[in-house]
Symmetry: D2
């Protein structure tokens, strides 16, 4: 596939999003995803870079309630019962666990934006570019990418840090994302190099005192 | 592709949704969609059947404001400026114009559910199955189907009444929808036959007097 | 205030929602709510009834991330920093803790529907009436009630199981809710009596086997 | 009521929002709002100022479909059938009609953010402060203000350009908004003076050529 590599990689503040990097990701019989484990391992250097640069990092985790009430129509197709609260397969992958200061968000559907506060969080932080990794390319990554696009974010997918239910489905979804944003599909190597070169201004989580002093009615100059 | 044809076609009340059946749909240079015009023409018998059975019919129309302010990131990929308010290409296709009593909804993005009242309307009517037609299979139809699925609707796509930016993209999106709901992809012939056979109870728009009498505080038995 | 008591109390399946019944609810200096503790205690009999009848029960909990990034504009008015993740005041009140089989949902804003999966859950369960309790009448209860109303739910507020930032604000919000749904404001005594009298068909969480057998493609009759 | 007047009035780019400034606004028997007509007239100078300064201006219009299907629970309380598509009372007030280049948005519920693209539009334009006018203070203005607040916007209400179903309800809603953002309630005179003094950089709608040149793949420097 011809990708559009000469387009700038990053616009404004980037955030790294790990989509459903979970233990059971892709394990039969619930879900098929032959390359899941490898793609999770390949995500480590990119995550390390984002951490070194103090970028906002968001871990999405698909979890269905024990009562199975919230599967909706998710069992009407190829996927079996999966990611049930409290089961081992729902756990985040051991090598990609969130650290203090990183964000974690449970979701019930494919898109990370569906019935969650992801857009609210990104918007509050001031993120312009989302860098996506995780599983499955042709489900949660695809629909998180499209919603990010619909919400006006620049979308970048780390091609080697995502994995699909089949090589064909993986490629089709990458092509579908690239259709909407030329230059969206990148290797993690490219992304790491660009992030390191640009030396983005580190994003600092505001301190309590910063936050308090931003309360308008407490600012002496306003009184 | 192997589709799952033995699954029931309809569950509960079905609604017919026409996705962006617009004059300019697929005309270069703004958008490529070689089969658009033909797929629009092939939609006529299905629309006629839905009308004969008095089903809820919803016409979605992608319109971007004249100020071009609401394209968001839509111009970052393959599509050019398209469907601008007041231009001929934004108009609904002449043979599929809404009649009195059918619903019409403007949208700014791909999914018919994104920043619209589509879910609110379907929910109020009591629709369980959405039958999708329109353009493009791999953009607005695909993402409307996925959101319908995420909102718990049964999704059926009239395979010959949708068209994509290329045959490959068309097929890939049909496969992606079928991945989530086995039996989602159907011919319009199948759908027409099933609708006619089942003789669904016609859906009647409530009258003013029905609505008024359902106001609780006016019901004598409640006072 | 004249309330409209002769309107039926319940329509369809009711769910009990506990809005922010948290330890710190209303404790100065973060938030003022003199009657909070008492209203939480008064919620116990209603919760016990809902449990006895096996109704869906949903516990909402306002939690702000430790990084304080998601307060948005919430600190621009009367409320101070509140309900921070990991602090004692963010914990759910000891006498109203969720049991196995009850639902729990974290929210970042006032309305329980804002950036959460509350509507998705209620819709999936098939709830028609929401019974609201919790704090503050004039903030999270008020705006959860209005969103429930906007999403087409019948709204009932247990008047003695909610508490406001002041008696005036409490009354004004009850009046504002009653403006939209006559008969919305009820005593917990009335609600308990009605629930017990109606003997609603218990709502059963579907079992794994029920769920599995509802997968269409597994149903022999469909194959 | 004590309002907090010493807080800055404007932050970033402001937008003027006219909430349901419609002919029938407040006319019995559908809705009671004694001060509606006068508040609409008092909105003219503020609208003129916003136009002179080339601010984004958004006209919200509540319209219910002729089929009455989308009233939801709106008729369960004090309000009667209102703002039906095609009726005179649903029309925008003659002296506050939108001009070319201003935005217009139909809504089905109270909050301007509910099931519309209002947040998407404000976000795309880059608006930080919303200035609210219109009817009714205690319904559509109140809940649009709260949703704006929940979406992180600075909220200002032009106190003399809004009107409620009663003086008490009007005051209660202003107090409820001020509870969340000190300094939210202002006179139109104050707002006009501040807008004129600050001489905000006029907001220009991007031209076709600007928009086209921002397409990344067309920028020579990117190729």
């Amino acid at each position: 596939m011809l990708y559009h590599k000469n387009i700038p990689i990053l616009y404004g503040l980037p955030a790294l999003i790990l989509v459903d990097q979970q233990v059971g990701g892709g394990k039969p019989p619930s879900i098929q995803c032959p390359d899941c484990l490898n793609s999770m391992k390949r995500t480590q250097p990119l995550l390390a870079t984002a951490r070194a640069l103090d970028l906002p990092i968001i871990h999405l985790q698909e979890v269905h309630r024990r009562e199975l009430i919230d599967f909706g129509r998710e069992l009407d197709g190829q996927e079996g019962i999966h990611d049930v609260e409290g089961t081992a397969e729902a756990e985040l992958f051991s090598l990609l666990q969130p650290l203090e200061g990183e964000f974690h968000m449970v979701k019930r559907r494919y898109s990370g934006f569906f019935a969650t506060d992801l857009d609210l969080l990104l918007c509050t932080i001031g993120v312009q570019t989302v860098i996506l990794t995780g599983q499955l390319t042709n489900v949660c990554v695809h629909y998180t990418a499209i919603d990010a696009h619909q919400y006006n974010y620049v979308v970048r997918v780390a091609e080697d840090c995502v994995a699909g239910s089949s090589p064909e489905a993986h490629q089709a979804s990458l092509a579908a994302i690239e259709y909407h944003q030329y230059g969206a599909i990148r290797s993690s190597h490219e992304l790491i190099k660009e992030l390191s070169t640009r030396l983005p201004t580190p994003w600092r989580i505001p301190s309590h005192s910063t936050l308090l002093s931003s309360r308008w009615f407490m600012q002496p100059q306003n009184l």
